[in-house]
């Protein structure tokens, strides 16, 4: 499997072999090697052409479905205890089938640690929903507590997942940068509320920055230098589409009730508003994702190497529409298939532009991995940490 750099001729290598005329007399004619063709005078070695390496996904839907369904059955039989193993296996399957330059990623987390995290999150969820409804102050208290803990949860979960991801023998890392996390997850949401949501796209950019700038591969640093403008562009477009759709729904209702096809009523308005809102939300996410994904990855670097992404909005829209239709029509059974499709397409649009070779990245010193409780809490709130 090709993984090394392009061959570089070393300066000072022998340029000629002994020719028959200059060969020492003791050498028999057959032992004299044929003269090598002359090469250009040795100068500075030419810089190797940058290698564009595309990510590949080798997972298969049939395989993944069997894994998913058996793991789900075991989870149900063990009343949820097996969920930790199921989660680790899922991550191992997704990362293990992701390849770059012919080598795959490995996930080395121990299910026991993930289990502790899951138990904690389940208890918190139950406490929040059931007790929170009876005692509203519990709910408020829980929101405040989770809000304050969020930076810790985010960092610990990133540390845990990063440390347990191995590529070609080197582990990823996440810096224990609580200060940065508190700034992003405590101060900025306040700003979002104060500006009535207008700051939100900028917040999203800062969030990506927190994630990317604090990750390392071995000793190499990840860097994010994306601008805020494209975030605003994406969210504005998404918002326009959402509100446009809701208004369209209301217009349709008004026309239908005026023409007498449907009788006006509060429930009709509500139903149509609700459906158009649901479709609007769905489209909002579909419009935003490719734009943000491309912008973020196009401005992500690993030392002197760079990523580039080329998700196409049209392909993504078609993909997600088919996915949601498949999941609804199959009562969820086609969910593994939709995961495979999405991951395969996403990875096929992601490339790493390697300047020279990755081989000169050194390993980092041994550090303690992060806690697993932060890991599942993060998943509960639908946070995605890439990689």
């Amino acid at each position: 499997m090709e993984n090394g750099p392009l061959p570089v001729p070393e300066p000072g290598s022998p340029t000629t072999a002994p020719s028959p005329e200059t060969a020492p007399p003791e050498w028999a004619a057959s032992e004299i090697p044929p003269p090598l063709p002359p090469i250009e005078p040795a100068g500075p070695p030419p810089t190797p052409a940058p290698v564009r390496a595309t990510f590949e996904f080798h997972g298969s839907a049939q395989e993944y479905f069997r894994i998913w369904i058996v793991n789900t059955l075991l989870t149900l039989l063990t009343l949820g205890v097996f969920a930790a193993w199921a989660k680790v296996r899922k991550r191992r399957y997704l990362r293990g089938n992701t390849r770059l330059l012919g080598h795959s990623f490995h996930y080395t987390a121990e299910p026991w640690r993930v289990l502790i995290g899951l138990v904690l999150v389940t208890l918190l969820f139950l406490a929040y929903s059931v007790f929170g409804a009876v005692y509203p102050w519990v709910r408020l208290g829980a929101v405040v507590m989770i809000g304050c803990l969020m930076p810790w949860i985010v960092i610990r979960s990133m540390m845990f997942n990063a440390y347990h991801t191995v590529y070609r023998g080197l582990r990823f890392r996440c810096r224990k940068n609580y200060a940065h996390a508190f700034g992003v997850y405590l101060a900025l949401p306040v700003l979002c509320v104060v500006t009535l949501g207008l700051y939100y796209p900028a917040f999203e950019r800062r969030r990506r920055q927190l994630t990317i700038d604090n990750h390392r591969y071995g000793e190499a640093f990840f860097r994010f230098d994306g601008k805020t403008g494209p975030f605003y562009g994406a969210y504005t477009l998404g918002a326009l589409i959402f509100f446009g759709l809701v208004m369209l729904g209301q217009v349709v209702v008004t026309l239908l009730t005026l023409s007498g096809a449907l009788k006006a009523g509060a429930s009709l308005n509500f139903t149509v508003g609700f459906i158009s809102g649901l479709i609007g939300m769905f489209l909002f996410r579909i419009i935003i994702f490719p734009r943000i994904f491309n912008h973020v990855w196009n401005h992500t670097h690993l030392d002197r190497h760079s990523f580039s992404a080329s998700l196409r909005a049209g392909t993504w829209l078609k993909l997600q529409c088919v996915n949601i239709a498949a999941v609804i029509l199959s009562a969820g059974l086609l969910y593994p298939w939709t995961v495979m499709r999405t991951v395969r397409y996403t990875l096929s649009c992601l490339t790493l532009q390697i300047d020279g070779s990755l081989d000169d990245i050194q390993a980092f010193g041994q550090t303690k991995s992060g806690g697993a409780a932060g890991d599942s809490a993060a998943e509960m709130f639908g946070l995605d940490f890439g990689l």
Partner: protein
Amino acid sequence: MNTPFPASYFDGRTPRSQPVMVTLLPTDEWQIESPTVQLRHAFSAVKVSDRLARVPRHFHLPDGAFLETEANDEVDALLSRRGSSRLHLLLHRLESHARLAAAATLIIVAAVTVTLYLGIPYGARRIALMVPTELDQTLGQTSLRALSGPGTNSLLSPADKYRVRRQCLRLITSKNEPMPRLEFRRIGDMANAFALPGNLIVLTDDLVRMATTDDELAAVLAHEIGHLRQRHALQSLLRQSSALLLVATVTGDLSTLTSTAALLPFLLLQKGYSRDFEREADAFALERLRAAGIPTTAFATILKKLSAQNGAVKQPFNYLNTHPETEDRIQPFVTPAEPLESNPLTPIEKAGR
């Protein structure tokens, strides 16, 4: 002699990979060989990842180095021949079995359906009836505050309010049953009644005005008392949380709860649960009205008035409604009832008493 299998060796210090051949020696050591690498590691010192479909196998060597190989079957053969526990292969065997996967699918679909439509409602009812009523008070207070914003003050006369309270008295015959507290609000021009936990019933002005006879008011109250006695609000809360947990367990992923695809079935499930509660409240109302000697047709009348006022929606949208079809609900209230005095004693035995 075990056949060596090819692997990539990573020294853990740089991402440089070296092709090696790996085998398990009779001395219970892993041997890693190549022109540039010659290593031996004790079997117990090396951590081998479990088999997972075709995912490349991972060896974690004690000095921080790693091996990566796609020769999964060869590794499995070596491990089995050594006699180490088959447990690590068991999961893989289960996951590769197509028929088991099909069986698992059927079992899961059946189990989830039964749980959602039978198990959770049953469990929620049992638990809700056990929860002390004091807890309900706080739940109800919060909801009442939501209905008591500015501009919701009732414009009914004290006489009207007293009329409604009198109907409540007709329905509560047992001394042990606490009288529900009645609150009146004005919510736009909506005619509606809410049963809030904590023995609280809220009625809107327009509903009271819509009822032309006392019996119609009694019918509505009977329905709401049904919600209260059976602790439907608490049951609803328990059902929702359990359903969420169940779906999270099944999908093994808490983040699917935030996806749009999961939202739709949840809403339908919630509507389904609401319809269960409405049906139960109707059945309770039927019995209570009969026991109080109030004609059950009053319920049919007020229900028809309500559905006319709220705007009948065409067929396709009805599934999204929280209340079952009005026609179906009215049916039990207009069919001739069995004689109230039905009792197991024959007329002769009755005469002998």
